[in-house]
């Protein structure tokens, strides 16, 4: 991927990610989050992770964000009215976030491997390339149903438990 496209999608992701926490209207926040996730999916595809990119669009930008919008509209939330801002707490939050950013910059800056370019991939793992025999879906599927069978089963149970929990939580009390 060209550096130009990388910076375009990174900036798009960061600007709309910032818009999520700046917007006062929850619907605008949710729609910014969708754009941020789409740009993130483009970054995944730039890293040759086609399967993860597609999953990102389908599950996050599709299913999870529809759930968010559905709940926002169900609760009929309006833009928050301005309340008295607790300046000490706000300054503390910004300071901690900035300290985290500075720390990440210094760790990445002192990490030698981070300055090397990405090594080239074999032709046969690139989806759509001529002579492509085993793309990333093939490899991830083999791992999921091979070495990660038990975690895969457990994740199924986690989803089942979450479904039952949601039904129990949203049930109206009847007596």
């Amino acid at each position: 991927m060209s550096p130009f496209l990388f910076w375009v999608f990174s900036l798009m992701m960061l600007i709309f990610g910032g818009a999520v926490i700046i917007n006062r209207n929850p619907v605008a926040s949710a729609l910014s989050l969708v754009v941020s996730f789409l740009a993130l999916a483009a970054l995944f595809i730039s890293l040759d992770a086609f399967f993860i990119g597609i999953i990102q669009v389908l599950v996050y930008a599709g299913a999870i964000m529809v759930l968010f919008l559905f709940i926002i509209m169900l609760l009929d939330l309006r833009a928050e009215e301005l309340r008295k801002i607790n300046w000490i707490a706000t300054a503390g939050g910004v300071a901690v976030a900035l300290a985290l950013t500075v720390q990440i910059f210094s760790v990445v800056g002192s990490f030698q491997a981070a300055r090397q370019p990405f090594p080239p991939l074999a032709r046969h793992v690139l989806s759509g390339a001529e002579g492509s025999t085993s793309d990333d879906v093939h490899h991830i599927g083999l791992l999921l149903f091979g070495s990660y069978t038990l975690p895969f089963q457990i994740i199924g149970i986690v989803i089942l438990v979450a479904t039952i929990g949601v039904v129990m939580l949203s049930r109206r009390e009847t007596r």
């Binding site: 999870i64 910004v94 985290l100 990440i104 939580l169």
Partner: protein, 106 residues
């Protein structure tokens, strides 16, 4: 030339944005969205390391992508449960503002 460090820094900034959102916002639904931003920042750095860790036959390390798959699944379950709690809370208190919900506050 784009290096691993560029992806890590972008992912770190996205994490910091999500973290600031959790610290600063007072609307539970916005806080949940900021949590999603942090999960996605972790996913981006995992996929970047997966692409960086190419074995001699030219195949990237797909273990990280399997972990990203699991993270996305757990995040979906987490959002479903979190939003159900928000709906139950809204029914009880008619608010999604965290400062109005202080029964457990010391």
């Amino acid at each position: 030339m784009i290096t691993l460090g560029d992806y890590l820094i972008v992912s770190g900034i996205l994490f910091a944005i999500g973290f600031a959102g959790v610290m600063l916002r007072r609307n539970i639904i916005t806080i949940l969205m900021a949590l999603e931003l942090m999960l996605n920042a972790a996913n981006l750095s995992l996929v970047a390391f997966s692409r960086f860790h190419v074995d001699p036959s030219g195949v990237p390390n797909y273990n990280a992508q399997v972990f990203v798959f699991f993270i996305i699944t757990v995040a979906a379950a987490e959002v479903a449960v979190g939003l159900a709690i928000v709906v139950a809370l809204f029914r009880l208190r008619q608010t999604t503002h965290v400062e109005d919900i202080s029964s457990l506050k010391f």
